[in-house]
């Protein structure tokens, strides 16, 4: 399996996000007076009839969703909102006036903050916390038949023919903390962006992208810390890019997984570049379900990915781990131009005999042909003596051993510091398709995005 065959998948992207102030649509508000919105947060020139203000026009966010037209804008004023919001109107933008002061609070009992199941939904500039399941989700997997359709019956994955992926979404400047499993969560979705967001205190992962092919989702400029896993990819292929994020102080920084339990295995062809992946041995976090701790990047039967120009440091077990999942193998991953330092071991292969690692490579620069990176420590030492064919492995017990601290309740993780709030005028977003470029980010510094982290500058 050659890397050259996946050329289209190694490009990165810039999202095309049109910003349009909608003025032509009439309000669907029952009371035309409310459209005037006296005392509203914006000046008249920026207000459109298609804008629904909470709480002025609608007492709850769900009420606002009932009122808003497709393509419209919902602006949420400061306050705590105790509701699970379902967005089923196309091309709607949901905007908090102040990222830190607009809080959707699950009270430890509600399952989720926001679920978007329509195409073209933007969610931005708000906080979601204390839900039992997840903070914000976008998915095409839904119908009116109840639980059987939601995630399958446990014995079969969903049929993509029945549930086409939702198209175009945007998660921007969202703070998600202390939700049961996931902070920002996208599966069975394509053509989206997850940017400038923050996630901590999640027992599965801060940011999760799963179950899509040709996903073309861009995950960039986010901070995830104090989670079991910072960023998790399971069966999500051809992501547009996972770039320029800070995934530090989790139990595991990032994972790229293939598994049979979900649709679209194996995972393949992500480009992961310019990320800071460090200090992933954080005791103040929920437990990782399989007991993992001290790992920078876990490639669990991920295939054909590129890991380029990342800073991978101070992960006491391993910087990068290759492993298998049942009979699915880690194959064709290229690790290039990364700055490794002070990991237990920089790259280790613990894939089992049933699904041995093959065709993976570590190179000293992204542009060169396969060539051993002399600076990276390897287990076994001859792991990359060849970049093609089956590759040798160690037993997991031979990894640098770290003591795994007990998990902390997701509800007991300290809240994050205040995060930067958006300064531009609220406007309905018209989301386009993702455009791709060949740009690769530079290796970030150890203090990358430290100003948004509770852990500050190392």
């Amino acid at each position: 399996m050659s890397w050259g065959g996946t050329r289209s998948a190694v490009r990165t992207l810039t999202a095309i996000v049109g910003v349009t102030a909608l003025t032509a649509l009439s309000s669907c508000s029952a009371d035309p007076d409310t459209g005037d919105n006296e005392g509203g947060p914006q000046d008249d020139s920026a207000r459109a009839d298609a804008t629904v203000y909470v709480p002025q026009d609608a007492e709850t966010i769900n009420d606002a969703v009932d009122l808003v037209e497709p393509g419209g804008l919902i602006v949420i004023g400061p306050g705590t909102y105790e509701e699970s919001v379902l967005i089923d109107v196309e091309d709607v933008t949901v905007r908090g006036e102040d990222r830190n002061e607009v809080v959707i609070d699950g009270g430890g009992v509600r399952p989720f903050g926001i679920s978007a199941i329509a195409d073209g939904v933007s969610v931005e500039n708000l906080t979601v916390t204390d839900h039992t399941f997840y903070g914000v989700l976008v998915t095409g997997l839904h119908d009116e038949n109840g639980p059987a359709a939601h995630g399958g019956d446990g014995y079969s994955t969903f049929d993509p023919e029945d549930f086409p992926p939702v198209q175009r979404f945007r998660f921007d400047h969202i703070t998600a903390y202390n939700n049961g499993l996931y902070g920002l969560y996208a599966f069975n979705a394509q053509q989206g962006t997850i940017t400038e967001s923050y996630a901590s205190g999640h027992a599965d992962s801060g940011i999760y992208v799963g179950q899509c092919q040709e996903c073309w989702i861009d995950v960039s400029h986010n901070v995830a810390e104090n989670n079991a896993v910072g960023f998790e990819n399971a069966n999500a292929s051809e992501l547009a890019g996972v770039r320029e994020n800070r995934f530090t102080h989790n139990r595991v920084g990032m994972t790229f997984l293939s598994n049979y339990r979900e649709a679209f295995h194996p995972q393949q062809a992500n480009t992961v570049h310019g990320n800071l992946v460090g200090e992933n041995a954080e005791p103040h976090s929920p437990a990782q379900a399989e007991g993992a701790f001290g790992v920078g990047i876990g490639i669990g039967a991920g295939t054909l990915n590129r890991f380029v120009n990342n800073r991978i440091e101070n992960n006491p077990s391993s910087g990068v781990t290759l492993s298998s999942e049942e009979d699915l193998a880690p194959v064709g991953n290229r690790i290039a131009g990364n700055a490794f330092s002070t990991n237990g071991v920089d790259i280790a292969n613990i894939a089992g005999a049933r699904a041995p690692a093959a065709d993976n490579c570590n190179t000293d620069a992204p542009s060169t042909e396969p060539d051993t990176d002399d600076d990276a420590t390897l287990l076994p030492e001859d792991l990359f003596s060849s970049c093609s064919g089956t590759q040798p492995a160690i037993d997991p017990a031979e990894l640098p051993q770290v003591e795994v601290p007990s998990g902390v309740s997701f509800r007991q993780i300290d809240p994050p510091p205040a995060q930067p709030t958006m300064q531009d005028e609220p406007a309905a977003r018209e989301l386009g398709e993702i455009a791709v470029t060949d740009d690769v980010a530079e290796v970030p510094g150890s203090d990358y995005l430290a100003e948004r982290s509770r852990h500050g500058v190392p």
């Binding site: 709850t60 769900n62 009420d63 009932d66 105790e82 509701e83 699970s84 379902l86 089923d88 109107v89 196309e90 009992v109 509600r110 399952p111 989720f112 199941i117 039992t132 399941f133 997840y134 989700l137 839904h142 119908d143 009116e144 038949n145 109840g146 639980p147 059987a148 359709a149 939601h150 995630g151 399958g152 019956d153 446990g154 014995y155 994955t157 049961g180 499993l181 969560y185 599966f187 027992a203 599965d204 799963g210 079991a228 399971a234 598994n259 049979y260 339990r261 979900e262 976090s285 929920p286 437990a287 379900a289 007991g291 049942e326 009979d327 089992g352 007990s406 998990g407 309740s409 997701f410």
Partner: protein, 408 residues
Amino acid sequence: MTTGDSETGPQQQRPQEKRPAPGVSRRGFLLGSGAGVGVGAAASAVLWRPWVTGDPTAESPGRASGSAEAGRPVDSRGRHQAGVDRPQTPQANALFVIADVPKTSSTEVFEMLANLGEGIDSLTDPKGHLTEVLPDDPGDLVITVGIGPQLVSLIDPDLPGAEPLPEFGSDTELEISGGDVLLALYATDVTVLHSAAMHLLDLVPDASVRWVQAGHRGPGEGTVARNPFGYHDGVVVPRTDEELAENVWIQGGPAAGGTVCVLRRMSLDVSAFRALGPGAQDAVFGRHRDDGRPMSGGSPTDEVDLTARTETGDLTIPLRAHARAAHPSFTGSPLMLRRSYGFAEPDTLEEGMVFVCFQNDLEAFVRTQHRMDETDDLMNFVTTTASASFLILPGRTGDQPLGSSLRS
């Protein structure tokens, strides 16, 4: 924690349902969202049919079922051989006879199968069975016939069941593997089994017995019964005709209507298991011993929720629990039909079980056994001493000899 109750909050906050997206009910989504933990979640109401409330009269025709049916004749004729899905509640007693036969051609194999088919008729026809073998009526005696990989290959190496089992990590103590012919005999009346088996062996004069094992099942309805460890077994299996078609019966080709059977004779270290204590025992299985309810919560009739966690992130069905290790979703496998029998040898005091499963693809078992060898704490108490796989021939209708559909 689990997913929480989606009816808390959203339903209260959101009494109105206006303008759902095309084809989408908002209420349906909200109701759905809480029950399954998103991706590949458990919550399988579909595959469960409670054994405690089984109603024999409600079963589909042609299938003896339920303990109320115990002892009543089971039709040996049909698209499928008896002893796989009928009777629905396996008989209390079994005798597994695995023999070798020195066959060198498919013609010889077909002759043998035809003889065995006639022999089965002569033993199980309630209106005219051989009284010199069974002085009284045969009751619910069922005899299922399978042939091992070598004989299957003689007929056609591309048939299901031609591929032998691979060697598993747990096979280190294996004393016997393989075999050419399986005669699996089941009856409520234990005394008929030996006589019937001997009569059938007489019909295959060149057969040499490779191994024999008797087994017994405790009371139960359907496929569920307690295993020698004291835990409910056979809980999640295909039951409906649709599920059996999808998971168990070979669907096309000359073996259509047949299935692939795996037999594993396992010696169980019940004493060591018992020494764990009740809580640790439950953790090995992932269910509670008293009533079978999952450690992830719910009632005995609930499936395990493999994604459920505590607030601190720990799995409620432990990572190495049997219920997690054997779950087909991890290997992308169809569901195996399991009808296992326990045994206790009076001379050696050995306790064990004959693991019996049926599936239309041998790989379903193979992948699962590999996974169990790697991740199942229950395997610490299991020593497999014999192992074999067989093509269970399609059933017979009319005057067709047993195995005739394989002639092509």
